[in-house]
Amino acid sequence: MAPILEISKLRKSYGSTEILKDINVSIDKGDFLVLVGPSGCGKSTLLNCIAGLEPITGGSILIDGQDMTHVSPKDRNIAMVFQSYALYPTMSVAKNITFGMKVRGVDQATQDRKLREVAQQLQIEAYLNRRPGQLSGGQRQRVAMGRALVRDPKLFLFDEPLSNLDAKLRVEMRSEIKKLHHRLGASIVYVTHDQIEAMTLATKIVVMKGGVIQQIGTPQEIYNRPANLFVADFMGSPAMNLIPARVRGTQVEIDRPGAAPILLSDPKVAGLPENVILGLRPEDIAEAGYRAGSDVQQAACQIDLVEPAGADTYVVSTLGGKAVTARLHTETRAAPGESLDLAFDLGKVSYFEPDSGRRLN
């Protein structure tokens, strides 16, 4: 089966600034692709190109095996939620939602049914007769969602569709989208800034930066085996600790203030260059005794800061000249200025080359 969406060598410029550089992605039917990346990296632009709303500068986009270069947006059979909503200001909410169906000649009864369904899912039944100008931000966003959800396209494009919703509603909407995905086997490209959204929804995540794809992979791959320093740093909150370290045979040496360097032994480092960056997520550094396993190794660290945060307590220590965060249970006895034995789970560690940022293991 041909992939539902295949983007190869895509380039896109505005004037002389190149926004997208050599993008290659493909997704199969039923895939849920989540695009993440810092603000301004070209996510919306990429969606616009897929939808055919911006002319592309180079490369090709295939939907369902067909080259889309000369196909107009309306014939691409996609549904899209715009980051800026782009609701039709003169139409009521109901008409905003049914417009696409009407245009496609869906019969009135189906329109009504779908409208009711979607309105209920999105909890906007009460506003169906209002104009967009009379809605709150979150309500507008849901209408924008509704406009896409009533459709049954080959491909959904969502551009940060939940950013203006409250946490509760967002969780509900997330599960609605997930249901939609399962029920219809819909293919989806989804832009979000919400890491949880990305992790829970995606079957595939694409991390972009400055118009270049950094990594494509499943959420687990992205989270556990980031392809480079950027991805490591970008994904996860609080971010992964990136600790400068030196390789000594099968040992890793990390500086700590006021004491000899920590020495951790890890057979994986054999053959790596001398200077590396060691990446370890806060949850993989625990208080000694609270984490067991063959790869767990302990070392005493000077605690600089203790930050209780409701369900957890974060402690910060300086390792390799960097502030390193560890996530501890709430009952920890850690106190600033004192020394604490921390357990490092070396089974989860990533190594990067300091200069190129490339992953080494």
């Binding site: 055919g52 709303l53 309306k74 800026s84 909503y85 782009a86 003169t90 100008g133 809605l135």
Partner: protein, 300 residues
Amino acid sequence: MTDLAASATPAARPRRGAGRIALRWGLYLLLCLFALYYLLPLFVMVTTSLKSLDEIRSGSLVALPRDITFEAWRTAWSGACTGIQCEGLRPYFWNSVLLAVPAVLISTVVGALNGYVVAQWRFRGANIIFSLMLFGCFIPFQVVLLPMARLLGLMGIAGTIPGLIFVHVIYGIGFTTLFFRNYYVTIPSELVKAAKVDGAGFFRIFFAIFMPLSLPILVVSVIWQFTQIWNDFLFGVSFSSAGTQPVTVALNNIVNSTTGVKAYNVDMAAAIIAALPTLLVYIVAGKYFIRGLTAGSVKG
């Protein structure tokens, strides 16, 4: 909608306090002063049309009529002589209606479509075409009379109402295109994008999204075209023949009598009658100046 209209105005908050009240009153005073400037000639015309000829000769220009008579109006409508016929403006009036209504509609629709293309469906050269059309607004009509006459003759519609409609449409679309284009460029292109994704085509987007947004500029365009066409004299007199002359030509005939006693009251009444449809259009169309239609469509 009225609520929206009120709330988006910069001065939307009710202002009280002495300074505010003074400001408000000053505003109204200013508006009324201007209203006087605009009304003065109309006042003169209306009062004159209601006076008898004797009173006009003897009295002051700005005086109110002593005894009001509608005789002049009746004469202007159905009795005034132009040439040997004494039918007033009535028959010509209908010529004008038959001429103006289709011409205004056609030129407005064509202009709206053109403006929509130029503003939202840019293709290479669209701006050049637009500039060329704009420049066309400036061609002096006297220049076009003779070659146009020739072409109308060749097309076989010389001296007919369709011929006149044709001429007015041709020279009207420059303006209507200008109006609509310049209005449509202020509408965010995201709307077109959204509608395209929704599967709407060129015309669908135009009628479903743009038309409802166009009310104010539609009003402007209709006002302009209707005024231009209804009040046109040069084309009317050149491209009509007996029986298809528009009301302005008849009005001109009534007003410009080279001999005889000048019946100013009839002239004025005739002028006002001739202007009534335009006034009506203004009053009716004016209602559709509504604010804030784009509010809430787009962030940023």
